[in-house]
C-alpha cells in the first residue's frame, strides 16, 4: 500500500516574546491554531484530530496539559495525541501528525507545539535537583559548551565562527515579525564582545527563553486541492534516537543525526543535499551548532562545516541559506522550537515567508534535535507533490 501524500496547507505562530502576560496557556495555543486555520481557510469542524507537543510539563507546572487545552483546540469529541521527545518534540509532533494522514487514519490534522516558559523559569525547569547527584551546572549552555570546544579542536575552526552565526541569525530575525529578538543595534563587534558565559559560548551566541506556539494544518491530496494558498508537500520525514550517553558516542556529530538525515534524503530522492536543498531551518540553540549540524546533515564534509559559515554560504542570500527566520537563536519557546523549524521550512517552499523569503526556494529541510544530542526529527518539504 502506498502512503497518502501529506501537504501543509496552514501555518500559524504567535509573536514570540519573553513573557506573553496577556494570554492564558489556552489563549497562547489558540492564537497559533487560529492563524493556521485562517491560513488554510478551514474551521474547527474541518479538523479530524489534534496532535500537540511540548517539552517537560514542569516548565508550566501542568501535568499532561493537553487535557486542559483540549477545549481551546476544538479537540472535544476528537482524537488528541501528546508527544514529548525533549527538544526535538516540535518536529516529532509534526511527524506523528503527518503519520495519521499518511496512513489514511485521518484526512486533516491540526498539529501544534508550544512553551510558555514565563510561567516558571527555564533554568529551574531544566535543572530540577536530583538527590545523590552532584550539582555542577545549571541550564543547557554548560552542557553543550564542552561539545563545542571538542568541535573546535577536531576541526581547527577559528574561534570567531560562532559570532558570525549569531550575527547572521539575529539579522535574519529582523525580517521575521514573529521572532522574539529584534536587536536592531546589534553589530558583529557587539556579539564578539558580549560576556563569555560558558567559554567558548558567549551571551550573544545563546538562545533566548520565549513564550510561543506554532501550529500547522496537515492534510491529504484532496485537502491540498482545496487549499487557498500553495501547499508545502512532504517528501520525507524521519526520527532517530540514540542513548543520552554511551561509550563511543560522538557528541559532536551524533550518528542518530547522520542516520536521520540519510533516511529523510533517501525518502526525498536527494543525493546531493548541498545542491538540491534551497533552504534549511536547523535547530541551532548555540551558534556553533550551525557548522556542527552542517557536517552532521551532510551539507559539508567532516571538518568543513565552519568554512561554509565563514564564506557566507549560509547567509539568507547565500546559496545554502540557513535559518532565514532567525532560528532558535532568535526565538526559543522550547517545545515549539522544533515545529517552528518545520513550519518555517514549509513557509519557504510555499513562498509565504514574507521578508525572509529565500528567492526561488523549492525544497527545504526542517530539523530539530533534543536531549543530550540524541533525539532527531527532520522533514523535507517541497513545492510540488512527491512523485507517484
Amino acid at each position: 500500500m502506498t502512503k497518502e501524500p501529506v501537504a501543509v496547507v496552514g501555518i500559524g505562530q504567535t509573536k514570540h516574546t519573553a513573557a506573553r502576560r496577556d494570554v492564558s496557556l489556552a489563549g497562547l495555543v489558540r492564537e497559533a491554531a487560529v492563524r493556521a486555520l485562517e491560513d488554510a481557510q478551514l474551521t474547527w469542524a474541518d479538523i479530524d484530530a489534534v496532535v500537540i507537543g511540548k517539552a517537560p510539563d514542569f516548565f508550566e507546572g501542568v501535568m499532561m496539559p493537553e487535557l486542559y487545552l483540549a477545549d481551546a483546540l476544538g479537540a472535544v469529541g476528537k482524537p488528541m495525541l501528546r508527544v514529548h521527545t525533549a527538544g526535538s518534540v516540535g518536529g516529532s509532533t509534526a511527524l506523528v501528525a503527518s503519520g495519521l494522514v499518511a496512513a489514511r487514519v485521518h484526512r486533516t490534522v491540526l498539529t501544534l507545539a508550544f512553551e510558555k516558559q514565563s510561567e516558571s523559569n527555564a533554568m529551574w525547569g531544566l535543572s530540577l535537583p536530583i538527590p545523590f547527584q552532584q550539582p555542577l551546572l545549571a541550564g543547557a549552555g554548560g552542557f553543550f559548551a564542552p561539545h563545542v570546544r571538542a568541535y573546535m579542536r577536531r576541526t581547527g575552526a577559528p574561534s570567531g565562527i560562532g559570532a558570525l552565526v549569531a550575527y547572521k541569525d539575529r539579522r535574519n530575525a529582523l525580517r521575521n515579525p514573529y521572532a522574539h529578538l529584534h536587536e536592531h543595534d546589534l553589530t558583529l563587534e557587539k556579539v564578539r564582545s558580549s560576556p563569555m558565559l560558558w567559554d567558548p559560548i558567549r551571551y550573544s551566541e545563546t538562545c533566548p527563553s520565549s513564550d510561543g506556539a506554532c501550529a500547522m494544518v496537515l492534510t491529504d491530496r484532496a485537502g491540498a486541492d482545496r487549499a487557498p494558498y500553495p501547499p508545502a508537500w512532504m517528501h520525507g520525514g524521519a526520527m532517530r534516537s540514540e542513548p543520552t550517553l554511551f561509550a563511543g558516542k560522538d557528541c559532536v556529530s551524533p550518528r542518530a543525526g547522520r542516520d536521520c538525515a540519510a533516511d529523510v534524503y533517501r525518502q526525498a530522492g536527494i543525493t546531493d543535499p548541498r545542491r538540491e536543498i534551497d533552504a534549511v531551518e536547523m535547530y541551532v540553540p548555540f551558534s556553533w551548532y550551525e557548522p556542527m549540524w552542517l557536517e552532521n546533515l551532510g551539507f559539508a564534509d567532516e571538518g568543513e562545516g565552519w568554512k561554509l559559515t565563514e564564506s557566507g554560504v549560509t547567509e539568507i542570500d547565500g546559496d545554502l541559506p540557513v535559518n532565514p527566520s532567525g532560528g532558535v537563536l532568535s526565538t526559543n519557546p522550547i517545545g515549539a522550537s522544533g515545529m517552528l523549524r518545520f513550519a518555517e521550512a514549509a513557509l519557504q517552499v510555499r513562498g509565504r515567508a514574507g521578508e525572509h523569503q529565500v528567492d526561488g526556494a523549492r525544497k527545504a529541510l526542517g530539523h530539530a534535535y533534543g536531549g543530550g544530542s540524541q533525539f532527531f526529527s527532520m522533514w523535507v518539504v517541497a513545492d510540488t507533490p512527491p512523485a507517484d
Binding site: G27, V76, N121, L136, G142, A150, M196, A247
Partner: protein, 319 residues
C-alpha cells in the same frame, strides 16, 4: 571480577516546588477579579448557555467566548463526595464535601468545597451559597467554600461588562510536590563505593565497555551491567568549558572549569570540576586526579597530576 553485592536501597527526599506565574487572559481575568468584589461571572455561549465558571473557549463548539454575565452566589449541588481527611492545599482543613454546584442562572457547575456538619447533611439537589474568604485577592480561593442555604433562589444571568478597576491579570500558583527519590540498584552500588573514595564502574556483559557512573543498563546493548570494575582514580580531561555564570542554588565560585573526565579504565567520560590550576590553563588532555573533601559524597574537584598531557589520539574517541 567482583560479583555485585546486594545493594542497600538508597532513598532521599526530592522536593519539586515552584511558584508558577500564570497570566490569565481576558475572561479568566474578569472572573477572578470579580470574585475579589464578590461578583460571580459566567460566560454566555453563542447558543445561549451560561458556562460558570466562565471559560475562554466553548467546550462544545470551540468558539471563543467573551459575552460575560453575572450569576447568583447561590446554587444547587449536582453531585458531592464526602472528604473525611482533608489534604494539603485543599480549601478546608476540617472534613468537608467536594461539590459540583450549578449556580442560579448558570447551566454548568463549579467544583469547590462545601462546609457541612457531616455526610448526612449533604445531598444532591441541596441549596448552597458561596462563603467568601475574608481577604480576597482575585483567585478561585476567594470563594472560601460553599455553605448550606435555605434562602431565595437567584434570578437569571444578567449581562456584565467584565470591567473592574485594577483588574487581576495574573495569579501566582505555588506548587509543591514531595517525592522520595530512589536511584535504583546500579546507582546505589556506585554511590556506596564512592563512600570509600573508590569509583566503580560496571562492565557490559555484551560489549565489555565500562560505564561510569553505571545506570543499570548498557544503553547500546540494552542489558544490565553487573560486573563491578574499579576505575581511575586518575583520568584525562577530554573537553571542558569555563563557567562564568553563577547559577542559583549552586554554591560554586565563578569562574570554574566544568570538564568531561575519562577516568582510566572507563568507557566514557564523567563530569566534574577541575581545580588546583588557574582556570585559563586547563586544557584538553590534562591528566587529573580526584580531591576528596570531608563529608562529601563526590570528589570536590579534580586536580592536575603533573603527568604529561594525554595525546589527543588516546581520548578523541571519548569526545
Amino acid at each position: 571480577m567482583t560479583p555485585a553485592p546486594s545493594p542497600e536501597v538508597l532513598q532521599a527526599p526530592l522536593v519539586v516546588e515552584f511558584p508558577f506565574t500564570r497570566s490569565l487572559g481576558p475572561v479568566q481575568s474578569a472572573f477572578l477579579t470579580g470574585l475579589r468584589t464578590r461578583t460571580v461571572l459566567g460566560v454566555r455561549t453563542t447558543d445561549g448557555r451560561v458556562l460558570m465558571p466562565p471559560v475562554e473557549y466553548d467546550p462544545v463548539t470551540a468558539d471563543e467566548l467573551s459575552d460575560l454575565v453575572e450569576v447568583a452566589p447561590t446554587g444547587t449541588v449536582t453531585t458531592w463526595a464526602w472528604n473525611p481527611a482533608p489534604r494539603r492545599g485543599q480549601p478546608l482543613d476540617t472534613p468537608f464535601a467536594w461539590v459540583l454546584v450549578r449556580l442560579d442562572g448558570a447551566d454548568t457547575a463549579l467544583l469547590h468545597a462545601l462546609d457541612a456538619s457531616g455526610p448526612d447533611a449533604v445531598r444532591t439537589g441541596m441549596r448552597v451559597r458561596i462563603r467568601w474568604a475574608g481577604e480576597r485577592v482575585g483567585a478561585i480561593t476567594d470563594i472560601a467554600c460553599f455553605e448550606p442555604y435555605d434562602g431565595a433562589e437567584g434570578g437569571e444571568a444578567v449581562p456584565h461588562s467584565g470591567e473592574f478597576t485594577d483588574p487581576v491579570t495574573g495569579i501566582v500558583a505555588p506548587a509543591r510536590l514531595d517525592y522520595t527519590y530512589a536511584p535504583g540498584r546500579a546507582q546505589s552500588r556506585y554511590l556506596k563505593a564512592l563512600a570509600d573514595h573508590t569509583t566503580r564502574g560496571e562492565r557490559c556483559p555484551s560489549c565489555r565497555k565500562v560505564y561510569v557512573p553505571p545506570r543499570g543498563a548498557c544503553p547500546t546493548c540494552g542489558v544490565a551491567t553487573d560486573e563491578q570494575v574499579e576505575v581511575g582514580p586518575r583520568g584525562t580531561v577530554t573537553t571542558f568549558c569555563i563557567v562564568n555564570i553563577k547559577a542559583r542554588n549552586l554554591d560554586i565560585e565563578v569562574p570554574y572549569v566544568y570538564a568531561h573526565i575519562a577516568l582510566d579504565g572507563a568507557g566514557l567520560a564523567l563530569h566534574g570540576r577541575v581545580g588546583g590550576i588557574p582556570y585559563d590553563q586547563v586544557r584538553m588532555g590534562l591528566r587529573v586526579e580526584p580531591v576528596w573533601s570531608e563529608g562529601s559524597r563526590y570528589p570536590d574537584h579534580y586536580r592536575p597530576t603533573g603527568e604529561p598531557d594525554a595525546d589527543y589520539d588516546t581520548y578523541k574517541e571519548l569526545l
